[in-house]
Each structure stands twice: as structure tokens, then as C-alpha cells.
Symmetry: C2
Subunit: 124 residues, 2 copies
Amino acid sequence: MSNHPEVPVVPVGAHEPPYYVAVFTTVRTQEQSGYSETNARMEDLAKDVPGYLGMDHAQTPGGLGITVSYFRDADALTRWRTDVEHRAAQERGRAEWYQSYTLHVAKVERSTGFTRAEVPQAGA
Amino acid sequence: MSNHPEVPVVPVGAHEPPYYVAVFTTVRTQEQSGYSETNARMEDLAKDVPGYLGMDHAQTPGGLGITVSYFRDADALTRWRTDVEHRAAQERGRAEWYQSYTLHVAKVERSTGFTRAEVPQAGA
């Protein structure tokens, strides 16, 4: 999903609650033409939404995909949900790309993060 | 994650709000001995928690993992969070399996689902 594969993967961190999370779980069809390009465009568009906090994505090969996006408040999420280009992508997703999906929109009440302490490399 | 690979993958569906969601995003270390067994055991344990609604998991090979679990209310999630065996697994995860993770606990306010209408197969 990233244009910078050399950058280590790090999950979006904990923010100060409350904030909003949209959990989008998908199973895709065999028909995926245009999906990658649209997906990359949606990631860029979301970043421009005031109040956007970040996005995490994981995809099991041949299985479930989960995209989680984080927003400062409900207004930010509404702006994203109703974006004209995003709505067109949603429509195309239902017509072509998704076998099934569920969207859960939720207000984050608590969050915690963990990062392993780095062990110095021998010779580094 | 499933013991039944022949069953089609379907994301956990929309439930009547409010309910709770725990979004657990992870990057794992190279040290994964015991992870699969513990993970399978945790899935079984979670199912026994009263108010457990389901769990979705996706794993990008070599990248991010996302586990989303759903509970009827905050009490159910607290029971799961404080389960003795689950706490031991969390501890081991920090010691061995996780490079970094974030946990977001949120109250679902709205959810929607979509399933593609089946097109009859020729000859079926």
C-alpha cells in the first residue's frame, strides 16, 4: 500500500481519546481491474481531509482485507464519507470489487501503544 | 486463522449499535515460536466470553497484522482483557512476538454490511 517500501511498517499510534475509527473489512471478487489505482487515490484523498489521523491496512492473500482509518472527530469522518470522489469509488466497489464487506464506525474511548526497545546490533 | 479452510471467508457482520470493537494492529518480530498455538488458543478463549460477537483477522505477509474483535458491551471487553490466560499471552507477546502494536478500544455507533447478490453459475 505504501509508495515507500523501504520504510519500516509501523501501525498508526495511539491518539488522545476521543477520536473516531472506521473499520472496513472486505472480501474481494475476482474482478479487480482499477482497484489498486483507486485505492492509492483514496489514500491520498483521505490524507487531505481535515482531522484525518492515519490509516492501517492488512490483507491476507486470498482472504480478508481490513482497512482501519482514524479521524479526530465525527465531522472529519462525515467529510470523508461524503467526499464526491470517495462516493464514486464506494459505488464502483459494490459493483465490481467487493464480494462482501462490513463497515463499523466507532468512537475510541481508550488506546495504548507498545514499541520494543531496540537492542544495539553487534558491530553497529 | 481458521481450522476450516474450505469455508468461504466472510467478515463479521454489522450488529445493532452500540457494541464495542477492539482494533489491535501489530508488527511482529522474527521470534514467533509458540505464536500460532497461543493465537489459536486465544481465539477459542475469546469465544467463551459472554458478549463476544466475533473476530476478524488479516495479515499482510511480512507486514502489518490487524485483529478486530467485537463485544456486546464494555463489561464483556473488560472480562476478555483481564482473563488470566489472555494476560499471560499479552505479556509473552510483548516479551517475544511483537515489534510494535497499537490497541484502540471503541464504541460502535453505526455499522453497515454488503453482500453481493449471487449470479447463478452456468450449468449449476
